[in-house]
Symmetry: C2
Subunit: 226 residues, 2 copies
Amino acid sequence: MNKKAIILFSGGLDSTTCLAFAKAEGFLCFALSFVYGQKHHIEVERAKVIAEKYGVVEHKILSLPLSEICGSSLIDSHLEVQDHQEAKSIPNTYVPARNTIFLSFALAWGEAIGANHLFLGANYMDYSGYPDCRPEYLHAFENVARLATKVGVENGQQFKIHTPLLQMSKGQIIREGVRLGVDYSQTISCYRADTHGRACGTCDSCVYRKKGFKEAEVLDPTHYCS
Amino acid sequence: MNKKAIILFSGGLDSTTCLAFAKAEGFLCFALSFVYGQKHHIEVERAKVIAEKYGVVEHKILSLPLSEICGSSLIDSHLEVQDHQEAKSIPNTYVPARNTIFLSFALAWGEAIGANHLFLGANYMDYSGYPDCRPEYLHAFENVARLATKVGVENGQQFKIHTPLLQMSKGQIIREGVRLGVDYSQTISCYRADTHGRACGTCDSCVYRKKGFKEAEVLDPTHYCS
């Protein structure tokens, strides 16, 4: 029997590559997406289409009340998403504890369905400096997962967090995706994406995406407004 | 200025004692409760009353889609809450990754409002064997919290998880609560509590509660059906 895996799946470039990777490795894929007040909620619509295309066993979309407890320009209508800046500070698109919350739900679902493998498209080369994408954070969460569950205590089952893109540049990710046959035209990266999926071209996420396609020497199928 | 603390607050015996403890220690208390499909949702109504009595700065009640992803007799109408058994296996009231999810939201809210102290009424003396109440788990989550946040990376702020009841017996918890002036008549422990707050008297939680009052030699104000 194939091994089951939960794929944290936003419908973006990284998580789509991650899903393609897990599928190619032979995992039975269960996709998990979240509606958490993000302005670019079009990503979830695209996630549905992509997940279906990849024949995931199930695609779960959960609503989380993140905007009730924390601010971020990604979810707060009073804060504007910043353009990309070369400065080193973490931008205002940062959402407090987002990956910790997402991984916690992946862990819960994983335990419920007997999926010990959790895939996350985290990357800390061409990224916005979010602390919960760093290797030391991810190791720490894996340790939590090791200790948190009933199947761990009673059956010795352990959870592995797979982050195949962690050390890749955006260009390397895209080359890997192309090798795996990923169609990036459906994926949404832009933090300001409109309901048609058009990208701003200037936010952090767009800048890294553009850079990636250029570096990979692959035609960028994104519809940028600028 | 007083230090801010998030109190994970179910309205039960342990978390109410924990709130009283944090208040007595001089923390500015922010209470965080969850509606997650629990059958004994009356606990959240009681939590509102108790939080107000303790003058918390804010009481946030969040709805989480836990029943969409995992089974537990606590949240699944097709599973029956078991009576207490002396056997060592973890009972079917266990909810996968519950404390990891709850702590993740506490961390997010904590970062948002500048509260570095998170209080949890976890106890692993008179308890059901849930893995996410054990000291090694809690240390692992504290390590995640240390690495997960922007305020940690940029300002060196660290989060401390306080578990003042961790090593106490249920009797010791009640004695501590009585010393702090806690009125246990409002608190709900029973996993099968009805909408009037009446307790079954035979589930795990009731059995530990009864044992605690007996051990503490304090009159148990609970209305048990059996």
